[in-house]
Each structure stands twice: as structure tokens, then as C-alpha cells.
């Protein structure tokens, strides 16, 4: 017995020695990590760490400290809310920019510190703010919204639990349903099926909470990781307007690669629609949404993506509808006009060419005119000439007339000449006479 006790004591002594060494090592490494975290924070870097908390297990003392820490931030937050309220009541407004900026900085600091709290601490903080008798209803709602959004950042499911648990938290406590939909989006981004399970579980009990907006939030989050899954979930969620949900999903694709993936998923989804007319309409509408940023990436990148995407006529119509004059890529407008002319059927191309040329001419008539002078002859150029001439007529009718006369004789040219006459500026008698002479020359009545 004595031998075994001695052996046990020896084991414990050796273990204590090794453990103390490890403990010292761990303390030193933790200190290094704290310094690195601080350096990273100062440079705006946030890193998902394998072991974000300092200790693997928290002691009662640490738990008490955490509770005290939450109470401290809550008290500071409430005091800030009261201060802000007093500032606003005293007539503080956007004119007091210095104070506004100070307040914004303090709010940012508080939000930052809140996000360092764990879900239990943040939930306790929210409860403190909700129970505070010192705040007006409006300020309380505002502060609760800020703290709930802080909780939603890392723990969206904890936010949703606030609404369904016995905390008496109602959607009206916040300004709108944004918190619920964005929490579902965040959750679904990481774990769409868990978010879906929550929706299924709470739809019947909390119809005011699990709205179509909230469901669309879930779909947006799911679409970021897996567009195909998001499309499949539409049917599960029994939305009143599935087409709006499709637009939500589609709008999450923002880079060329994401758009390609989304396009493939969208096509698969649309293929499940039995009505061909509805399918084409959905393709057009959603391609407008999917490709609204394509043009802004520049003609070379955009036309490359479009060629690879191999769009159907309905999809091309959707893309064309999203194509607008972009001053940041003004120099590429001519290339887009030619692309429209060679890609779309004439009737569809004309409408888009008209819009682009009119806006381009109003914004930079010289550049538009220079392009026209070198553009290849053909239907695209004719449509562009008509639109250009009609647009500049109110400012430079003689130049407009010269352009109109480059059109082939026929109804389009006649109509253009008539519009030029109608828009002719009649500032004085001489200008009126010039307009009349123009009308006489071209047989305009």
C-alpha cells in the first residue's frame, strides 16, 4: 500500500513538474496570441481562430467576470443612449458635425466591444437594455436593435431564439423585419438546412416572424454558398411570390464566376417550369437582374462572359434590358451599340440602341458623333443616326439635318427630318425663317 502511495505521489510530482512547464509555455503562447490579435485588430484584420477563447474551460470566477463585463458595457451603452437622447432633445442635429462624428465613433467602439461578448453575455446585455427605465421607448428600441445586430453577426440563431423563447421579445421591438431576415441569411450562409429547419419549426407558431421577407433572407444566404440548393428550397418555403425569391437568389451572384454558376443553376431551375412562355419571361426578367453589373466590368470582360454563357434569345433580351449608358465606360458605348446590332433581332435591338444613343448624345455629343462618323454602315448605324439627329436637333439643327440626310431615302429619313423640324429652336425671327425654309426644302407640312 505504502509503495503504491509513494508511486502515486511520484507520478503526481513528475506530472506537476511537467504540467507547470506546460502551463508556463501555454501562458507565454497565449500572451503572444493576444499581442497578435491586437496587432491584427489594429490593422482591420479579423481571423477565425481555432481557439478564440483564452481558456479551454471557464471557471466560476471567469463566468462571473463575463457577467460583470456584460453589465458594464450595458451600463455604458445605456448612458450613451441617454446622452444621445439629450443631445437630440437639445436640438443637436446634422449641423453639429463634430458631435455627430464623436457619437458615431463611440457607437462603433461600443458595437465592437459588444461583438467580443459571447452569446450569453450579449443576451444578458440586451435584457439589461430592454429593462432599463432610464431610456425613452424610441432610444430603447434603437439600442436594442444595435445590440441584436451585434449578436446576429456571429450568432444569428441566438437572435432568432430571442423571438421564439420566453423572453417576450417581439418583432415590433425592432424597427422592422430586417433583423430576422438578415439573421436567417447569415445562418443559411453557413448552415442552410439548419436555418430551414428553424423556419419549418416556427412558421405555424410565429407567422408574423416567419414572413416571406424572412424566407427570402434564408434563400439569399443559402444562395451565396449553393445556388442550386437555394433554388430547390423555394418550393419548400411556400412563398406567395416565388419570382421575387428567384430575383433574390440571382442577385447574390456578383463576380463573373459566380454569375456563371448562378446561370447554370437558374437554367436548371427554369427547366422545371412547364409553361414555355412563363419560362422565357422568367429567363428575361432574371437575366436582367443577374447581369446588371456585367456592363460595368468593361466591354472586353463582359463580351467574353456573354460569349461563354451562350445565352438564349430570352436571356439575351434580359441582358440587353440591363445595359445602360455608363459614363465610367463611355468610350465603349460604340462597341456595345455594334454588339446589340449584331446580337439581337432588329426590333429588340432598335429599342436599346435608341436609349443608349440618346443618353450618350446628351452626355457627350462629340464622342457620339465621332463614333457615328466611323461606324460601319448598316441598320445599327441608321438607327443610331436617327436617334442622334433627333436628339441634337434642339441645339444644332443644321448638323442634325446633315446627319439625317445620310440615311437612305424612305420613311425613316422622312420621319427624322420631321422631328428635326419640330425640335428646331426658334429663338428669333431668323431661326424661325430657317426652320420654315427647312420645312419647305424637305416637303414637311
Amino acid at each position: 500500500m505504502n509503495r503504491s502511495l509513494t508511486l502515486a505521489a511520484l507520478i503526481l510530482a513528475v506530472g506537476a513538474g511537467l504540467g507547470w512547464h506546460d502551463y508556463q509555455q501555454l501562458a507565454a503562447i497565449r500572451q503572444t496570441r493576444s499581442q497578435l490579435v491586437a496587432d491584427a485588430a489594429a490593422r482591420g484584420i479579423v481571423v477565425a481562430l481555432a481557439n478564440p477563447n483564452a481558456s479551454p474551460r471557464s471557471t466560476k470566477h471567469q463566468r462571473e467576470n463575463r457577467g460583470a463585463s456584460a453589465k458594464l458595457i450595458a451600463a455604458e451603452f445605456i448612458a450613451f443612449g441617454r446622452e444621445r437622447e439629450a443631445f437630440e432633445q437639445a436640438g443637436g442635429s446634422e449641423h453639429d458635425e463634430v458631435m455627430q462624428k464623436q457619437m458615431a465613433r463611440r457607437m462603433a467602439d461600443l458595437r465592437d466591444r459588444m461583438m467580443a461578448l459571447d452569446p450569453a453575455q450579449l443576451t444578458a446585455l440586451i435584457a439589461e437594455v430592454r429593462a432599463s427605465p432610464e431610456l425613452s421607448d424610441q432610444t430603447r428600441k434603437r439600442l436594442v436593435a444595435v445590440s441584436v445586430l451585434a449578436l446576429a453577426n456571429d450568432h444569428p440563431q441566438a437572435v432568432l431564439a430571442l423571438f421564439t423563447d420566453a423572453t417576450g421579445f417581439a418583432k415590433d421591438d425592432l424597427s422592422n423585419g430586417y433583423v430576422v431576415s438578415s439573421s436567417l441569411a447569415r445562418w443559411a450562409k453557413d448552415d442552410p438546412l439548419a436555418a430551414l429547419a428553424w423556419v419549418r419549426q416556427n412558421t405555424a407558431s410565429f407567422p408574423d416572424l416567419v414572413t416571406d421577407d424572412a424566407k427570402r433572407g434564408l434563400l439569399s444566404g443559402a444562395a451565396i454558398q449553393d445556388p442550386r440548393l437555394a433554388f430547390k428550397l423555394i418550393g419548400e418555403l411556400a412563398l406567395k411570390d416565388p419570382s421575387e425569391a428567384i430575383r433574390n437568389i440571382v442577385s447574390t451572384a456578383q463576380t463573373p464566376d459566380e454569375r456563371s454558376t448562378m446561370l447554370a443553376a437558374l437554367r436548371e431551375h427554369l427547366a422545371t417550369l412547364s409553361d414555355a412562355g412563363a419560362r422565357d419571361a422568367a429567363a428575361t426578367a432574371n437575366l436582367t437582374s443577374l447581369t446588371s453589373g456585367v456592363g460595368r466590368e468593361g466591354f472586353a470582360a463582359a463580351s467574353h462572359w456573354l460569349a461563354a454563357a451562350n445565352l438564349s434569345p430570352a436571356e439575351l433580351a434580359g441582358f440587353a434590358a440591363s445595359l445602360n449608358y455608363d459614363p465610367a465606360h463611355s468610350g465603349e458605348t460604340g462597341q456595345w451599340l455594334e454588339w446589340l446590332g449584331t446580337t439581337l433581332p432588329t426590333n429588340k435591338a432598335d429599342e436599346r440602341i435608341h436609349d443608349l444613343v440618346v443618353t450618350w448624345t446628351r452626355s457627350d455629343s462629340q464622342a457620339a458623333g465621332q463614333w457615328l462618323a466611323t461606324a460601319p454602315d448598316g441598320p445599327t448605324k441608321n438607327t443610331a443616326v436617327r436617334c442622334y439627329a433627333e436628339t441634337i436637333a434642339a441645339y444644332a439643327p443644321q448638323t442634325a439635318a446633315q446627319w439625317a440626310l445620310t440615311l437612305p431615302a424612305g420613311t425613316t429619313r422622312d420621319a427624322t427630318l420631321k422631328t428635326i423640324y419640330q425640335n428646331w429652336p426658334r429663338r428669333d425671327a431668323a431661326a424661325s425663317e430657317a426652320a420654315a425654309a427647312f420645312a419647305a426644302e424637305h416637303g414637311i407640312k
Binding site: G15, A16, R33, L36, D39, R43, I45, D112, S330, Q366
Partner: protein
Amino acid sequence: MLPPAVALLVVGTWLGLQRRAISTTEQDCATLRDHLAADSGANSATAKAANPNNKIKAGAPINWQLLAGRFDEMQRAGATADMRVVLRFQQRLQALTREELIAGLDAIPALGLSTDSRSMLEQTLIGPLIEKDPEYVLRHFIDALQDDASGLKWHLATALRDWARQAPGEADAWLDEQIAAGKFDSKTLDGKSQFRTQFEGVMLGILLTADPAAAGRRLAAAPQDQRADIINNNLINSVTAETQAAFTKLVRDQVPAADRPGIFAIQAAQCAVQGGYSKVSEYLAQIEATPAERSMCVERAASIRIFANNRPVTSEDLDTLRTWAGTQAPDASDRVTGNILATATQMTPALAFNAAAELAVHYSQASGNDDVLATFLDTWTARNNKDQARVFAEKIADESRREEILKRLK
């Protein structure tokens, strides 16, 4: 042999837990070092940062390429962006020195960003730099006005405002130099420069307090057809009770007569919101409004006042309006009533067309002329309800006017 076994278990578990903690903490450190090294930019810096003994110094050169990438990711994530990253980015931004901000803005065009990303990042950096040195922003980045891809141009008027508050004379002279140098030349078909309009409005807002005579000279130098735009876009909202007299004089002296009623009507509407019809009456007396100005001011003020109620127009609303309009612009009262009734049919909640038309008939009879009804039936709401409108048109007493209205309602 139980005690040694228990001792072994206890020691083993304790050591195991500690070693696991050491391992994960070391892993965290390695991850953090990698990120910090990447943020430090150059490959040589990576090697240095990877060494735990080389601490990253505050004020180390900023890798704008990486920062831009992070900003881009943040923008793309939208509602699901990590708020911590957003906050830290904002805090980092606020901590940047004037020199760092300038270096960043100068570096951005060469980063190869997409147009949208470049524009957004520029717009994010320019605000803090304007706070620090608005004059530098203007002098250094004025060419952005002619750069279609730059996001800076949207913020230069704010820089002018901030600088002009500190040095109005210098800012005023600088603006003249830039105009003369063609910095505000416009490529638009109508020749108007939205930036010139914006800058002039901002400068006038400062001069109105600092030097009203200089404000007059400034506006006189602007093209006549752009003066109302300058005032409406950026000046009118900066007018205070103290500068109202100078503002009125500026408008009367420098704006073409045809454009003045529109400008004063905006202020009249603001008065109606703040203090009702009585405040508008005070305002009209203060600016010594002409009949044409009174007419437009009364119409705009009435419209704002009546439709702010968020309910269908009532005869009480119209009685109050007409009593007040009778004291301020008697000639406009019937026309304003007819137009208000037409608009009321399109508001939410709407007044039904027939109910509006009945009220138009009522007020026409009360006035003893056809003006209210004829005005009402000569609007788009009547053309949208032609069949009903034609029935009411029969109640117009003046035969030629009735025929004219009926012709338009065919």
C-alpha cells in the same frame, strides 16, 4: 495499485488538455502571423512577419492592394458581411493619417480594380481626408471632375464647403481660377456642368454669410440660364433666418424674373411645413412677393399643407385654403383649388373622381365663375376619366369654354 493508476489518469488528462491548448493556441498564432504577413505586403515582409520575434510596427506601409481586396469582399458580402470587419475597417480608416490617405488615393487608380470597386474605395477614403485637409483635396484632385471613372468627383463640393468655411476669400478666388482654366467645362449637349452648379451653390451658401456682395458678383458671372439651378440645387437649403434677406436680394438682383417664382415657391413650401399658412403669409410679406410669385407660392404651400395630412382632401381643408389664398393671391384661389382637387384623386388615400368633381362644381358655384371646374376638367385626371368628366363639363356655364373642354375630353 489503484492510487498510481488514478494519479496517472489525472496527470495524463491534465497534461493532455494543456498540450491540446498549446497546440491550438500555436495554430492560432500561426494563422494570425500568416494574415499579418500577408497584410504587410511585400514578400520580404512576409518572411519577417512570419518570425514571431519581428513585431509588426504601427505605421508600417499599408498594402493598398490587400486593403482594396478586403473592401471589395466586404461590399460583395452586403447584408451578410462580418460587421466586425466592417467596423474595424471604419476604425482603421479613421486612424489613417493625412499622408496615408493621400498615398492611398494616389495609389488606387493603379491597383487594377474594377471601376465600381475603385469608385467605392475612393469615396470611402476621401471623406476622412476632407475632414483633415479640404484645401489639399480640392487642389490635388480637381482633375477628377473630368475623370468619368473616378468616385472622387462626387465629394469635391463637400471639400469646397469645408475649405470655404475656413477661408471664403481664397476659396472664392480658387473657384474662379478653376472655371477659367476649363476644369468645369462640360461635354453635355446643353453645355451645363452639374459640378459647376454644385460648386457655385456651395460657394454662394458660404458667401451669403461671409460676403453677400461677393455672392452677388459670383452669381452674376454664372450663365443666366443656370442661375436658378445653382440656387435650387445647393443654396436654397442653406438659407437661414439670418441670411434670408441677403438671399432674397440675391435672387431679385441676379435671377431672371421668370425663374424667381419657382425659387420662392420652394421656400414657401418649407414655411408651410414648418408653420402653416400664417408663416407663408409672413414670408410673402418679407420677400415683397409679386402677384406671379404669390400665385406659385400659394399653390406649392397649399399642396404641401393639404397632402401632408395623409387622408383624402375634405371641404374643410379647401375652405381653409381658399380663405387664406383669398388674402394672399385672390386671383390664384380658384385655379389652385381645381389643381388640388385633381391631384387629390391620385394621392393615397385618394379622393374619388366624382367626389372631387362635385367639390369643383360646388366651389365654382360659390365663386360665381367656371374657374375651379374648368381647371379641374383640364387636367390629366379628367382625361383619364373622360366619360365622367364629360358629364361634369356640361355644368360649365361659359359656352365657348365648355366646348373647348369637351373637345379636349373626346
